[in-house]
């Protein structure tokens, strides 16, 4: 009987350590996932000037669309913080979506090897951003659930863990770029 209280204390301390460590791990995974998004966004910023230059010849009179892509790209490069980046990248996704939708109507673009290779790279980058965001949001949800639910929230508040923000860009962007087919 005299071991009961010390035993419970040891168990509580072990539980605290375990929970604290899982919180640290979850926070680390959120950070990693965010840096992965960052890598892919940079990749997209680097690819866009090349893409715009290579389609300018064929799509010269779509000037408005091309300018919009460049403008959105430049403001996305300068954005900071989850919200601001989300908004700027959303604008860029919309502009690119319009460009791709229009490019479907220029079969001569598809014949140019350089353009089709670039389009594959840009398209893949779009996918990667989408998948990286999906993965980041999964990790954030996991961390936030731990921070907010009993009993791990006790450890979280003592350790100063704060909930992370979801990265939501393409939810609205996807709605503005539905599939277009010309009949």
């Amino acid at each position: 009987m005299e071991y009961l209280i010390p035993g419970l204390i040891v168990l509580a301390v072990l539980w605290f350590i375990f929970t604290y460590n899982s919180l640290v791990q979850a926070r680390g995974q959120v950070k990693n996932a965010w840096s992965q998004i960052d890598v892919q966004l940079k990749r997209r910023h680097d690819l866009i000037p090349n893409l715009v230059e290579s389609v300018r010849g064929a799509m010269g009179h779509e000037r408005g669309t091309l300018e919009a892509v460049i403008a959105a790209r430049n403001s996305a490069v300068g954005a900071h913080g989850v919200r601001e980046v989300g908004a700027a990248e959303g604008e860029l996704t919309r502009a690119l979506g319009r460009l791709f939708a229009l490019a479907e109507a220029y079969p001569q673009l598809r014949a140019t090897e350089n353009v089709s290779a670039l389009q594959e790279e840009v398209a893949s980058t779009e996918n990667r951003i989408g998948f990286a965001r999906q993965h980041y949001n999964d990790r954030v949800t996991l961390l936030n659930v731990m921070i907010e639910s009993l009993p791990s929230n006790l450890v979280a508040s003592l350790g100063g863990f704060r909930p992370a923000e979801l990265f939501e860009i393409e939810v609205s962007a996807e709605r503005d770029v539905p599939r277009v087919s010309f009949s």
Binding site: L102, E120, S124, F131, E170, V177, P178, R179, V180
Partner: protein
């Protein structure tokens, strides 16, 4: 998915222990029959050989498998689309980029190997690249990424090497039994010969059977679960379903060895026929049927579809709660044939229809698909910028 990971680790250990026990027993009997009292040496030798064999398999089993099918490692410039798709799926799964290998084989197929996500490899045949579009390829790669994520690759690699080793051992045991049994039967020591024959019979017939049963026991569940992961990661069950149909309908099948065949996304040596206790994979039609039946790209939807089709449960409970965020924009490969483009759009439209999209037609003849929860009145035609009434 930690349940699946733990299960695969446990089974790998059991398989190696089974082989060690068998080899120890065989060598014990051999040594004892040759020199009474020397059995312990044989036993230790058996464990030692298994230990070394296990370590070699652990360290180099994946490379041995890749070497045995003449796979060659490729970079981004060799196959940009494949490389991009693998990178996309690694990001979606939150895993490091696996090494990518190409097999010069006209039969479409793919497999994954390695002992952990950090050392994993994905191999696809040139036939696969030739006959699948980007979405289908993405489905196949996501299925393989599922095997990597659940550590199926560890068990499957160890198992295929071990099953091969046990087969060789069984063959040797059968020869020894025939030869030594004859020699001994003429001599004085009849008891030793009987023991030897019994042990050899166990090694020759029971061991390969046990190894196969252990391997087959869960291999179909593993394939179902990898299909579920494939659908979840891509958020597009139709891509994988189309790919499975194309692979099984291909005029030529991949000509890989039997150790590798069991690892492939569709077993090229069991292309036809329905489920039997000897099949490593569920029947392809069954897998396609389940994927097509999914109401959304969640593990829960896959579990419901499997249960409706087979009555079985394949998804671990820990995964059922993973709710996906909306699908990222998938794309059609540039330069795709009109037929391929039509198939792509049909699959895409199906997915969107299930998600409740409506179709709106602009005055300029553009057809626009709109999500159900999209507010009316805020829609502009992306072609001519005219405001649309979404009625």
């Amino acid at each position: 998915m930690h349940e699946a990971i733990a299960r695969n680790r446990f089974r790998s250990v059991v398989l190696v222990a089974l082989l060690g026990g068998l080899l120890g027993m065989a060598l014990f009997a051999l040594a004892e029959a040759g020199e009474p009292g020397a059995g312990a040496v044989g036993l230790l030798a058996g464990f030692g050989i298994t230990g070394i064999g296990g370590a070699v398999t652990w360290l180099a089993g994946d490379r041995a498998l890749l070497w045995s099918v003449r796979a060659r490692r490729i970079g981004h410039a060799d196959a940009p689309v494949l490389h991009n798709v693998v990178e996309e799926m690694a990001i979606a799964a939150g895993l490091p980029l696996p090494a990518i290998y190409l097999l010069d084989d006209p039969g479409p197929n793919a497999f994954a190997t390695g002992r952990s996500p950090a050392t994993a490899s994905i191999a696809v045949t040139s036939g696969l690249l030739a006959c699948l579009d980007r979405d289908e390829l993405q489905g196949v790669v996501a299925h393989e990424m599922g095997h990597i994520q659940n550590r199926d690759i560890l068990f499957m690699t160890i198992a295929s090497v071990m099953v091969g080793a046990i087969d060789v051992l069984a063959d040797v045991a059968a020869r020894v039994a025939r030869h030594r049994g004859r020699v001994r039967a003429r001599g004085r020591d009849r008891g030793g010969a009987v023991v030897l024959i019994i042990v050899a019979a166990i090694v020759a017939f029971v061991a390969p059977l046990c190894a196969r049963l252990l391997y087959l026991g869960a291999s179909r569940e593993r394939e179902y679960l990898a299909d579920a992961t494939g659908a979840f990661l891509t958020r597009n069950p139709d891509g994988l379903a189309n790919a499975l149909e194309r692979i099984s309908a291909a005029p030529v099948h991949a000509s890989v060895n039997s150790a590798t065949a069991a690892l492939c996304i569709v077993n090229p040596r069991q292309m036809t026929g329905s489920d039997s206790w000897l099949s490593t994979h569920p029947a392809t039609e069954r897998r396609v049927e389940i994927l097509r039946r999914m109401a959304g790209a969640t593990y829960q939807a896959y579990e419901d579809a499997v249960r409706a089709a087979t009555g079985k449960s394949v998804v671990p409970r820990g995964a059922l709660g993973l709710a996906p965020s909306p699908a990222p924009t998938a794309t059609l490969a540039r330069g795709a044939t009109p037929e391929r483009a039509a198939a792509y759009h049909a699959a895409r439209d199906g997915t969107r229809r299930r998600a409740g999209y409506r179709t709106v037609r602009c005055r300029c003849d553009a057809q626009i698909q709109v999500p159900a929860d999209r507010a009316a009145g805020s829609l502009r035609c992306p072609r001519c910028a005219v405001a649309l009434s979404s009625g």
